[in-house]
């Protein structure tokens, strides 16, 4: 496949304009809340307002008699129904499986976090449902809440789940066999740098709140769920098989236009199961639309790690060992993929871009009386990158060496490279991305800019870091051994119509990524037909083959590869048909620009002639091949892909107030081959916005009683347009992935992974330039925190 060619007008490498924009720009998108089913009723969930308590009485009689109320559901209605399943089982460092609590759809006896659903009122209107919910008579005996992870592990800590032995979900060691060797390396080290830090709890906050509409057709026995999901097939499998016992052929899950996900719409949520269940029970569609305030206490949160990291170096400043000790908050229940995030998506990335020979990662996952925590853009990889790149920066300061030089000195330079944390990087060039970064960030000009800032009374700092990501988590047989309870392949059906147009039905889901534009670019390139002859269908289990959906920057690397495989099958078959039409051997047929030809002759047939022949098989080798032109492929990758890059941030700090301003931000990424550079830039921009948000603004905060203090946009600071600058992004360094057919690596999470350490490194640099002995500030670096750090 060709590299990114800016001048290209179509196909791979072209900055094709997004076709989906037309409907979004004209107000004709079809989001879940835009879907209304005839006769639908509305549900309002009564949620716990305490973090931990025992339900001593729950009387719904008065509520049931309120105007418009169809039925009030409680946990008792779900006793015969399965709980929400967890999709990943981690085995701890002693060989024991994790503690896995039940996760009921509606509370059974106890509530375990503010927002835990207790009862659900279904009524003719949303306001009637809410009115009636207020009439439910509920008594809760308050129990002491555990919020802090270390306190939750104390002997006498209150237990979130009475039937578990403690609040410890698992104690994971990786690689456990390395533990002693790592300890020895630390004993022998010339220098050890230690850093304790918090990776702040975040709320994903896609702009579209979650919505679920359950429907039931009594005549066919079919249930339909319209939902804001990144992976409708996964919801169908989890909800159908594990919660409600509905076989897939009687359950359709539709995720139409979805207004952003960032991980939070991967998971199977109670509200989806409820609406599907209630629609059947009432024989009437049931709709739930989350308010933003409700989202803060019911969407899975992200991050929330507390880590101590130690880096050992020899006398020549080579990294000799790395050791981390992390507490990872699971919240009150295990969300769908929560256990995998601090383990296999985090520990495996601790080598970063560096040839550290010995690494040991310990993670204690802890239950607390808070909203469940699960994957958020980057999921485990930002946590790994942040601690590693922060401790390297601290080491450079302690050793009085240039932070860029220290990184360069320790870069992995030969590929493939097997890390001491069980993964093999197939390819990369970290020197090239750092070179590119130094160029686009104008690192040389920094001193001059610092002088200018100082003249204006501001402190200026430069922060640089690298990152590596593992995308397209796979292969399925390996992840199965690691505890995944699902496969991680992707699927595509390529349906060629008689007149040559193509519909691709994919299990990948687009909720902002632009698949409807970029996927056709690939097929256009392969066949040589215009992009607009290809349509992408996704998001409806009734129309698309079983797929695993979109997360972990996997869509093009995995879903795109499935599409390529299916298209290769199409081309092979089409060549046979073309060979028949041209009375030649199919081995001699070439396909270029939508024309089949025989080398060295003037024989040719057009793409449309072949597709027509496939469906009007009059002159056709029926004895050799079937009519029609439709192929399906499932692609299971041999390895992860490993995008990597180098980021630089320049900040100004107002010494009077502690206010940090991002003055410049540069990102040099290696995504391998790029299909649509415009979309790739946009993905990086968005990741940077979220990473800067994490670093400077966003923090989900509970008080000691488990009350959520940052419960709306009034207190949870979202990045706004004036919080960020224009970004300088570049992806011209391209080492194509060696094991997928497109040579692509994935770009969706890079920005969010690579940017937080750059920002914090820059702020520390700025404060130190003013002589402040500051080595670390925990995110978010609010003005108040920066100012406080400057006072100490």
């Amino acid at each position: 496949m060709p590299k990114d060619i800016d001048a290209k007008e179509s196909g791979i490498g072209a900055a094709s304009k997004r076709r989906e924009d037309i409907r979004f720009l004209s107000g004709t998108g079809n989001y879940t809340d835009d879907i209304n089913v005839n006769g639908q009723a509305y549900v309002h969930f009564l949620r716990s307002d305490v973090a931990h308590g025992r339900i001593t009485s729950l009387d719904t009689a008065a509520a049931a008699g309120m105007p418009g109320v169809l039925r009030v559901f409680t946990g008792a209605d779900f006793e015969a129904v399965g709980g929400l399943p967890c999709g990943w089982q981690v085995t701890d460092r002693f060989g024991e499986v994790m503690q896995e609590p039940a996760h009921p759809v509606l509370a059974q006896g106890k509530v375990r976090h503010v927002g835990d659903p207790i009862a659900a009122v279904v009524a003719a209107t949303a306001e009637q449902a809410r009115d009636a919910a207020e009439a439910i008579e509920l008594d809760i005996e308050d129990l002491p809440a555990v919020v802090d992870m270390k306190a939750a592990l104390a002997e006498d800590a209150p237990k979130v789940h009475d039937d578990l032995t403690s609040n410890l979900c698992y104690d994971w060691g990786f690689v456990e066999e390395n533990k002693e060797a790592v300890a020895k390396a630390f004993d022998e080290a010339a220098h050890v740098t230690t850093l304790e830090l918090v990776n702040n709890r975040l709320v994903a906050n896609p702009m579209e709140p979650r919505v679920a509409v359950g429907d039931f057709n009594r005549a066919t026995g079919e249930s339909t769920l319209y939902t804001t999901s990144q992976n409708p097939h996964v919801i169908r499998l989890l909800m159908g098989a594990f919660v409600l016992g509905i076989p897939e052929h009687k359950l359709r899950v539709v995720a139409p236009d979805v207004g952003g996900g960032f991980g939070s719409k991967i998971f199977h949520y109670a509200e989806e199961a409820f609406c599907t269940f209630a629609a059947k029970a009432l024989n009437r569609a049931v709709k739930w639309t989350s308010s933003r305030s409700e989202a803060f206490m019911s969407d899975a949160h992200g991050r929330d790690h507390v880590t101590k990291i130690e880096l050992a170096l020899d006398a020549d400043n080579n990294f000799t060992a790395l050791r981390t000790d992390t507490h990872a908050n699971m919240g009150a229940y295990l969300s769908t993929f929560a256990p995998s995030v601090p383990t296999w998506l985090h520990g495996t990335l601790m080598a970063g871009n560096y040839k550290t020979p010995l690494i040991y990662v310990n993670v204690k996952a802890v239950f607390t009386n808070t909203v469940p925590v699960d994957a958020y853009r980057g999921a485990g990889r930002p946590e790994a990158t942040y601690q590693l790149e922060r401790v390297i920066d601290k080491a450079a300061r302690e050793l009085n060496v240039d932070p860029i030089a220290l990184r360069r000195q320790n870069f992995i330079t030969e590929f493939p490279y097997a890390t001491p944390v069980a993964v093999e990087y197939d390819t990369g060039d970290y020197v090239a991305t750092m070179d590119k970064l130094e160029e686009i960030a104008d690192i040389k000009g920094f001193d001059g800019r610092r002088t200018e800032s100082e003249k204006a009374g501001k402190l200026r700092g430069l922060g640089v870091n690298c990152y590596i990501e593992a995308c397209g988590i796979a292969p399925s047989n390996l992840v199965g051994q690691l505890g995944a309870r699902a496969g991680l392949y992707e699927s595509a059906t390529v349906r060629v119509n008689a007149t040559g147009g193509i519909v691709v039905m994919t299990g990948s889901h687009s909720h902002g990524q632009g698949h409807e534009t970029s996927f056709p670019q690939v097929i256009s390139e392969m066949i040589g037909i215009p992009e607009d002859m290809v349509e992408i269908e996704h998001g409806d289990t009734a129309n698309t083959p079983m797929g695993m959906g979109t997360y972990g920057s996997r869509s093009l690397a995995v879903g795109g590869s499935a599409m390529v495989k299916a298209t290769e099958k199409i081309i092979n078959k089409a060549k046979k048909i073309a060979a028949h039409l041209m009375e030649a051997s199919d081995a001699d047929v070439e396909l270029k620009d939508g024309q089949f030809s025989i080398a060295g002759t003037d024989k040719s047939v057009a793409w449309g002639d072949v597709t027509l022949a496939a469906y009007v098989p009059h002159n056709y080798p029926l004895e050799e091949i079937e009519p029609g032109l439709e192929e399906t492929a499932f692609y299971d990758p041999a390895n992860f892909t490993y995008p990597a890059g180098a980021y630089a941030c320049e900040v100004e700090v107002d010494p009077d107030t502690g206010k940090v301003t991002i003055e410049r931000f540069a990102a040099a990424d290696d995504f391998g081959n790029v299909v649509n550079p415009m979309i790739v830039d946009g993905q990086v921009h968005g990741g940077l916005g979220q990473g800067i948000g994490q670093a400077l603004l966003e923090g989900c905060v509970y008080d000691e009683d488990g009350q959520l203090l940052s419960a709306s946009f009034m207190d949870y600071a979202m990045p706004r347009a004036d919080d960020v600058p224009f970004y300088q992004v570049d992806h011209s360094c391209q080492t194509p992935c060696t094991h997928n057919p497109l040579g692509v690596k994935g770009c969706g999470e890079a920005g969010a992974i690579g940017s937080p350490p750059a920002v914090v490194n820059a702020v520390v640099d700025a404060l130190r330039s003013a002589g402040k002995d500051v080595t670390h500030i925990d995110m978010p670096l609010t003005p108040a925190r920066v100012w406080a750090a400057m006072q100490s």
């Binding site: 037309i22 896609p206 709140p209």
Partner: protein, 161 residues
């Protein structure tokens, strides 16, 4: 129930509403104009921005009855009758100023209000003006760029394409 009447995108529309019916509910639920979105309940995200008598307002923080007799403009009325995008919409597509599309209607309506008052806003003025419009996908880069382009400014020197 009280009857409310207003002109939406040039078309007279009316319906019976409760006192508590929000303008956004009137548009979405009663008139089927689902292009205007609801992204929060504290009047901050701006996904619901429409114009009432020429001024940008948050349709989730205005009662429908307060719009009695008003001229209301929504995202559905921005393109030409034949579907041709207006200059702002076209610039958003050209410069990839949207991803998931959920904040987009509010962004476009806010941008239109800005350019009416300030036909050639600076980068800083645009960023400041968008204080009440949250986007979680784009990092704002291409939104700001698109608005600059829509106002006829040369954006070719802006970092990254």
């Amino acid at each position: 129930m009280t009857k409310v009447s207003m002109t939406v995108n040039g078309t007279p529309m009316s319906g019976d509403v409760e006192g508590r019916t929000l303008l956004v509910s009137f548009l979405r639920d009663q008139q089927g104009l689902t292009g205007t979105h609801v992204g929060c309940d504290t009047s901050q995200c701006g996904a619901c921005v429409v114009h009432v008598d020429g001024k940008a307002v948050k349709a989730c923080t205005m009662l429908a009855l307060e719009a009695e007799g008003a001229e209301v403009a929504t995202i559905e009325g921005q393109a030409a009758a034949d579907g041709t995008l207006n200059a702002i919409q076209a610039a958003f597509q050209e410069h990839h100023g949207l991803q998931c599309g959920f904040c987009t209607p509010g962004m476009v309506m806010s941008a239109a209000a800005l350019l009416k008052d300030n036909p050639k806003p600076s980068e800083g003025e645009i960023r400041h003006y968008l204080e009440g419009n949250l986007c979680r996908c784009t990092g704002y880069h291409n939104i700001v760029k698109a608005i600059m382009a829509a106002s006829g400014q040369d954006v070719s020197a802006i970092a990254a394409e």
